[in-house]
Structure formats: structure tokens, C-alpha cells
């Protein structure tokens, strides 16, 4: 069987599985639709959180990004895992104890203000929508490259699938399909990684393999990372493992971006809502632990994949005659992900850190997608990567859809626009909102706006600078008032959004010398967060303390079990 036949087989089997789970787990109440009836065991919720969290970006792009950044790729590795410590210690158990359905609902109750709830719901919708567009795009890309159908057809297919299982099964359907999707994506990620580690170093554990010595070839006996640093020096790239040298991000910027991603992770609504689905506060703590374990399996493998892929890429292509380039090269050349421009006309590929003489252009996505082919692995492994990429994109899309739909129907609809809606009616509105959101996201996948990639910085920056401080202070500081929280959130959002917008859209040619404290737009959410904290505290102290019943609510959520 060839790669395409295997891919059809895997995609067909996994999609059948997802639909089957959706039919088995369909729901008929708002509690089932929003929070899966709160009956999800901690370990299953951990797995679902893992799939929810690991998106097309984690699966397809991250290892490639790190491959080109070396040490600096740490911002993603630490940034997208360290937030779980904040989630587990500061938010998950308390939000679960509070109960109800959404994060914005907590903001509304804790800050005794519908305005806080509406601001929260609008932020949720904006953050989730920018995020979901990227997922649908990922679905389209996997379809078009592996199944050779149009991006449009691929996105349409993905839309129908998500539509079926998200509207039918709500959170319950999404949770159990995510459990299946986690298994598919982690197997698809690990098999090629293990095979490549085994092949290059003789060590089957990728986490250890990339610190091991190369098994054969011209650099046999040398440490892999040492070889990589030497190759980078020879070709004029900054050394792979070096930290803050010229050509890499500064220490301040690495620090700020890592912080913004961590805090943003802990403030993302589609992650927070997962902790509402478990039976109690104790299960929320445990599921945070399971989630991070399942995420760490991929996140500790990714930097190994990056290093192996980088060495493989340089050694198989640099200095090779274009005619003798391996077969995968021409295959991926047609997709535009890799390109050769013979500047000196000698017919050989020259890869260099110097833009003027470099003849090889490589898209970061190729590092994961083409990795099995570069390492000469069998056809079914290549097909497995396609199924894994789809699982990663679909699971994240479904989780985002659900928070968009609950923000519409529950936070904006039931509490504000149409109070007194019956449960049945609210469920219908939630399903309708989910369907609309899928169509909207699909359209963005088919007609990508140029700025979609840019606005992902918004998603983390806004989550960090709006939700996180309001939630943490709401739980840990009884004195935080309505006026303080609203002023703080607005200050955080306005500052962060205008900084990002300024450097991404209006001052594109400005250089890093213009950045505030040397912090790039990706990292500015951490300053926005500090600003939010400062403003909330100052304004709270200047205003009347929260009413008795709100202080009692805070006392109440601090205890794991309701006291009689």
C-alpha cells in the first residue's frame, strides 16, 4: 500500500471512531452540553485537556519552530507547560468548587456585575475565534498535502465532522472524542520520534537520544548537540544551544514571552472550562496533574525531534547536487514548503545563515510533516502523522467551539439578552451558536485573512492581561472590588491590544530598538498582566469593599467541599 492509501485508511478509521463516540455520548440537557454532566473521571479529563490544549500548532509547527530557534524555542516549551502549575495551584480547584458553567459567569458573580460578565464573554469569543481559525486551516493543510484534495474540500469535510460531534454530544461528546484523539495524536507523534532517535543515536528514548552520541556516519561518536552547534558555526547560523547571542532573542524578551505564554495558558477559557467537567475540587487538582503528564509526553519529545530534524536536514541537503537530492525533496518542493534557488549557478544546494548566499528556503511545518520521509520510515508511519495532525486540530477546534457557544447562549443570551430562557431553548441556542461558529471558523480556514497568524499573539496576550489577574485576585483577595476588577481588565486589555496592534499593523518596519523595555509584542501580555494587577489593587483599595454575600462566596470556594 502507498502513503495515500494508508492515509485514507487511517483518516476513515479515526473519523468513524469519533462519530461513533459522538452518537454514544449525545446529551439532552444544558448541564450535559456545557460541562458533560460533571461526571468525567480525572484521568479522562486530563487526557481530554491534553488533546484540547495541543493544537495543530503544537503538533505540526512547534518542533519545526524550535528547530530553527534552538535554545530560544524554550519560550514555547516552558511557556505552554508551566502555565499548568498556575492552573493547578491558583485556579482549577476553586473554579470547580464555584461550579456553574463558564469562567465569565464566575467573573459576573464574584464582581457582582453583569458588565464584568459581558466583558469576559466578549473576550472569550474573540480569543477563541482567533484560535479556532488556525485549527481549521491546519485541517485544510493536512487534507491537501496528504490526500491531495483542495484545501476548501478538506476544511468543509472537517467542518461537517466537528459540527456533527460538537452539536450532538456537546461537552460530553467532545470530551470522549478528545480522549480518543489524544491517543491517536500521541502515537502518531511518538512513533516517528522513537524511530529517528533509534536510527541516529541507537537510543530509542528521544528525550535521552538528543543528548547522546551519533551512531554512524561522518560524525560517529560525537554528541548530537555538539555536532549541531558545529554545523551551525560552519554555515554561519547562531549556535543551536547558545542562549542570548547575536541573532537570538534577548534574555528580557525570552523571560517576558515565556511569562506571557504561561499566564495566558492559565487564562484561556477553553482550558479553564475543562475543569468544570469533573465531579469535585479534588478531581480538578488531579486532572491538572494528569493533563500535564499527558502534555509533557509530547512536549519533552518535541525538542528532540527538533534537533534530529535539524541535523538530518543539514546533512542530507547541504552541498548536495540538486539532481541528486532525495525523492521527498521534489515532492515537498511542489507544495512550496521547501525551495531551492541556485544563486551561484553551480547546481549544488548551499545552505547558509547569510541571506545573500543562502539557496535553501525551508518552511518550519515541514520538520514534522516530512520528518518520517526524510528519515526513510515506512508509508504507514507517514500516514499516521496525517491522522495525528487532524486529531490535534479537530480536538482543539471542538473545545474552542464549545466555549464560544456557551459564551453566546449562556453569558450573553441567558443572562443579558434573553433572560428567562428555558433550559431546552438555551440548549437549542447553544447548538445553533456552535453551528454558526463552525461555519465562521471554516470560512476563515478557506479564506485566511493575512492577519490570522498575527492575532494569535493577541489570544495569549489578552488571556494573560484580562482573565488571569481578575480570576486570581477574585479567589485570593476578598477585598478586590467590582470597580477594581473592571478597571484592571480594561487597563490590561487596552494596553496589551494597542501595543500588539501598533507593532503588528501600524509600525511594521519598526525595529526591536523601539520596543518597551526590549519586550516584543508576543511578550507584552506579561506587562499587561502586571498593569492589570496594579490597577485592580489600587482601585479596589479606593472603593467600597465587596458586599457580605460576595465575601461569603469567596470563603465558600476556598473549601473543597460544601460545609453544612
Amino acid at each position: 500500500m502507498d502513503v495515500q492509501a494508508w492515509t485514507y485508511l487511517f483518516v476513515f478509521l479515526t473519523f468513524g471512531l469519533y462519530i461513533g463516540i459522538a452518537i454514544w455520548s449525545r446529551v439532552s440537557s444544558t448541564e450535559g452540553f456545557y460541562v458533560a454532566g460533571r461526571g468525567v473521571p480525572a484521568i479522562a479529563n486530563g487526557m481530554a485537556t491534553g488533546a484540547d490544549w495541543m493544537s495543530a500548532a503544537s503538533f505540526i509547527s512547534m518542533a519545526g519552530l524550535i528547530s530553527f530557534m534552538g535554545y530560544t524555542g524554550t519560550i514555547y516549551l516552558m511557556g505552554w507547560t508551566g502555565g499548568y502549575v498556575l492552573l493547578a495551584l491558583l485556579l482549577a480547584p476553586y473554579l470547580r468548587k464555584y461550579g456553574k458553567f463558564t469562567t465569565s459567569e464566575f467573573l459576573g458573580d464574584r464582581y457582582y456585575s453583569n458588565a464584568a460578565r459581558v466583558v469576559g464573554a466578549l473576550c472569550t469569543i474573540f480569543v477563541s475565534f482567533t484560535y479556532i481559525a488556525g485549527q481549521m486551516r491546519g485541517v485544510g493543510i493536512v487534507f491537501s498535502r496528504f490526500l491531495e484534495v483542495d484545501v476548501e474540500t478538506g476544511v468543509a469535510f472537517g467542518m461537517v465532522l466537528v459540527l456533527v460531534y460538537a452539536t450532538l454530544g456537546g461537552m460530553r461528546g467532545i470530551t470522549y472524542t478528545q480522549v480518543a484523539q489524544y491517543c491517536v495524536l500521541i502515537v502518531a507523534y511518538l512513533i516517528p520520534a522513537i524511530a529517528i532517535s533509534w536510527k541516529v543515536t541507537g537510543n530509542p528514548v528521544p528525550q535521552l537520544g538528543f543528548g547522546d552520541t551519533i551512531a554512524s556516519g561522518q560524525n560517529a561518536g560525537m554528541f548530537l548537540l555538539e555536532t549541531l552547534d558545529a554545523l551551525h558555526r560552519d554555515l554561519g547560523f547562531p549556535e543551536y544551544t547558545a542562549s542570548f547571542i547575536a541573532g537570538k532573542k534577548s534574555m528580557v524578551d525570552v523571560f517576558a514571552i515565556t511569562a506571557a505564554l504561561m499566564v495566558g495558558t492559565a487564562g484561556l477559557p477553553h482550558v479553564l472550562i475543562r475543569f468544570y467537567t469533573v465531579p469535585d475540587a479534588r478531581a480538578a487538582r488531579w486532572s491538572a496533574l494528569w493533563a500535564l503528564i499527558f502534555i509533557a509526553i509530547l512536549y519533552t519529545t518535541a525538542p528532540a525531534v527538533s534537533a534530529f530534524a535539524r541535523v538530518n536536514l543539514i546533512q542530507t541537503l547541504n552541498g548536495v547536487a540538486y539532481e541528486e537530492a532525495p525523492a521527498w525533496f521534489s515532492k515537498w518542493e511542489t507544495t512550496g514548503l521547501i525551495g531551492f534557488d541556485d544563486k551561484n549557478g553551480d547546481g549544488h544546494i548551499a545552505y547558509s545563515g547569510d541571506a545573500a548566499s543562502n539557496e535553501l528556503s525551508v518552511d518550519r511545518d515541514i520538520m514534522v510533516l516530512a520528518n518520517p520521509e526524510i528519515a526513510n520510515l515506512p508509508a504507514w508511519v507517514v500516514a499516521l502523522v496525517a491522522a495525528g495532525g487532524l486529531a490535534a486540530a479537530l480536538s482543539t477546534a471542538a473545545g474552542l467551539l464549545l466555549v464560544i457557544s456557551s459564551a453566546f447562549s449562556h453569558d450573553l443570551g441567558k443572562s443579558w439578552l434573553a433572560p428567562g430562557m428555558s433550559d431546552k431553548r438555551e440548549l437549542a441556542v447553544a447548538r445553533g451558536a456552535a453551528a454558526l461558529a463552525v461555519v465562521g471558523a471554516g470560512l476563515l480556514g478557506i479564506f485566511p485573512l493575512g492577519f490570522v497568524a498575527q492575532v494569535v499573539a493577541f489570544a495569549f496576550g489578552l488571556a494573560a492581561s484580562s482573565f488571569f489577574p481578575a480570576l486570581v485576585l477574585g479567589i485570593f483577595w476578598k477585598r478586590a472590588t467590582r470597580e477594581g476588577a473592571i478597571a484592571g481588565m480594561l487597563a490590561g486589555i487596552v494596553f496589551t491590544a494597542s501595543y500588539i496592534a501598533w507593532f503588528k499593523f501600524f509600525a511594521e518596519r519598526s525595529s526591536s530598538a523601539d520596543w518597551l523595555f526590549g519586550i516584543s509584542p508576543e511578550g507584552i501580555g506579561s506587562i499587561g498582566m502586571l498593569l492589570n494587577f496594579a490597577v485592580t489593587i489600587a482601585v479596589s483599595l479606593a472603593t467600597k469593599p465587596p458586599p457580605e454575600e460576595v465575601q461569603a462566596l469567596v470563603e465558600e470556594i476556598r473549601l473543597p467541599r460544601t460545609q453544612s
Binding site: 507547560t81 508551566g82 480547584p93 542562549s243 496533574l289 473549601l559
Partner: protein
């Protein structure tokens, strides 16, 4: 001891656990992986420069370890104060 005072003691114990784990969280990630990465890179374990290893591997293991400690510690605390 009254119920209210008991709950306050529980909350204070919880805050102590949380603070000490967050200190380790900060030192283990921002400290070892970013602030002190250059001096640490002078040492190696296997083929890894030490600072680089903490940044791309060690910090993630520290995160998992911290949540594990928290989960077990809080389970014990809940039982000790009878709030579980």
C-alpha cells in the same frame, strides 16, 4: 476550636503550600532555564549543556513534579482538616 478558625487555619496552610511550590516553580523555570542558563551551560550532563537541558527538558519535569507534590499534599491537608 470553632469551625471558622479551623477553616482559616486550613486556608493558611494551603497558602503556605502554594507559596513554597510557586517559589520552586519560579526558580526551576525562569531561574535555571533563563536567568542562569549561561553559567549553567559551562557544565554538561551527557551531551547536554546543563542550562539548555533545564530549559528544554528539566523545567517540564519540574512542573509535573510540583503538581504531583501539590495534589498529594492537598489530599493530606483536606483529610487533616476534615474538609474532603
Amino acid at each position: 476550636m470553632s469551625e471558622g478558625r479551623d477553616h482559616r487555619a486550613y486556608w493558611r496552610a494551603n497558602l503556605r503550600i502554594m507559596t513554597s511550590l510557586l517559589v520552586v516553580w519560579f526558580l526551576g523555570s525562569y531561574g535555571l532555564g533563563i536567568l542562569w542558563v549561561e553559567p549553567l551551560n559551562a557544565y554538561t550532563i551527557g551531551g547536554f549543556p546543563l542550562g539548555f537541558w533545564f530549559a528544554q527538558q528539566g523545567s517540564i519535569y519540574i512542573f509535573v513534579f510540583l503538581i504531583a507534590v501539590y495534589v498529594f499534599w492537598m489530599d493530606r491537608l483536606d483529610r487533616a482538616y476534615g474538609v474532603d
